[in-house]
């Protein structure tokens, strides 16, 4: 098992789990926002604005994982 193989495997692992968590979280957030808009359509503007900011926050964790994966693939300090 050389470093390159481990890095590729780890990158795939990082992206798959990095997609899993934020996907679940975003689903929950959108579902809650839909529920809130259905109950109170007049507050849709405020809710969707907050939703966008929240979604971006959640998505950031996925982006972190992507950056780590790209670092492993393209700028790995161990494979030289």
């Amino acid at each position: 098992m050389d470093h390159e193989f481990i890095s590729i495997f780890a990158a795939a692992f990082v992206v798959s789990f990095g997609a899993l968590g934020p996907a679940l979280a975003e689903g929950r957030a959108v579902a809650a926002a839909m529920d809130a808009i259905a109950r109170q359509p007049e507050a849709a503007g405020t809710i969707s604005r907050t939703l966008f900011v929240g979604l971006a926050m959640i998505e950031t964790t996925a982006i972190y994982c992507l950056v780590i994966a790209l670092l492993l693939l393209f700028a790995n300090p161990y494979t030289g």
Binding site: T46, R49, F52, V53, A56, E59, T60, I63, Y64, L66, V67, L70, L71, F74, A75
Partner: protein, 224 residues
């Protein structure tokens, strides 16, 4: 494959020992185009707003309204900084789809510089509103034991501001390049349209988060 790395930038030429990359050239173009455009557009402002002035007023008032919703009364003092950040990031994100240009925000250096601007201005606004000692005392609230956590959060939120902008824009461009290489010439067009929308959303989020941070630095005083 190593040539296609999204983490390194293409060097166009050198000025002395300093390498000038394509992203830097695009930034210089934006630095030239944005002030020149604003100067041209605001040259003849009048009471009867013409068509262009109406568009400009809508943009500025819209940005001001969005800032007021997160920052309340102090929105007016943040408007120049946040509106400039928003306009710069929105145009910078969109330049990625033009041929021969490269979105400067897809490089970590630009994102780091923008996050550093926000980091400095948070403290600037905080000290201006509350005085040096009052602002520094704010870090030890609600209890002294929170001091290291508050200091840590100053750093981590700046880092996350940087990585969020860089990661989103870079991953979008990387995705388009991958699809272009795998599928052919006109296939990534829907992705590029999505990327335009996402670029605007990211600019909005960057500016709104900067507003939230600055608002928190200014307003903590009113609770005490």
């Amino acid at each position: 494959m190593m040539d296609a790395s999204p983490l390194t930038s293409t060097i166009l030429f050198h000025i002395g020992p300093i390498p000038i990359s394509r992203a830097v050239m695009t930034t210089w173009g934006l630095m030239l185009a944005l002030p020149l455009g604003s100067w041209l557009l605001t040259r003849q402002l009048g009471r009867d707003s013409g068509r262009l002035q109406a568009v400009l007023e809508t943009v500025v008032v819209g940005i001001l309204e969005q800032i007021s919703e997160v920052a309340g009364k102090s929105a007016r003092s943040m408007l120049p900084l946040l509106a400039t950040l928003f306009l710069f990031i929105a145009t910078a994100n969109s330049t990625g789809i033009l041929p021969g240009m490269e979105a400067p925000t897809a490089r970590i250096e630009t994102a780091a510089a923008l996050a550093a601007v926000v980091f400095v201005s948070v403290h600037f606004y905080g000290i201006r509103a509350r005085g040096l000692l009052g602002y520094l005392a704010g870090f030890a609230k609600p209890k002294l034991i929170m001091l290291p956590l508050n200091l840590l959060s100053e750093i981590t939120r700046t880092l996350s501001l940087m990585v969020r902008l860089f990661g989103n824009v870079m991953s979008g461009e990387f995705m388009i390049a991958l699809v272009l290489a795998l599928a052919g010439l006109f296939v990534p067009i829907p992705l590029m349209a999505l990327e335009l929308l996402l670029g605007l959303v990211q600019a909005y989020i960057f500016a709104i988060l900067a507003g939230v941070f600055i608002g928190a630095a200014i307003n903590a005083q009113q609770q005490t």
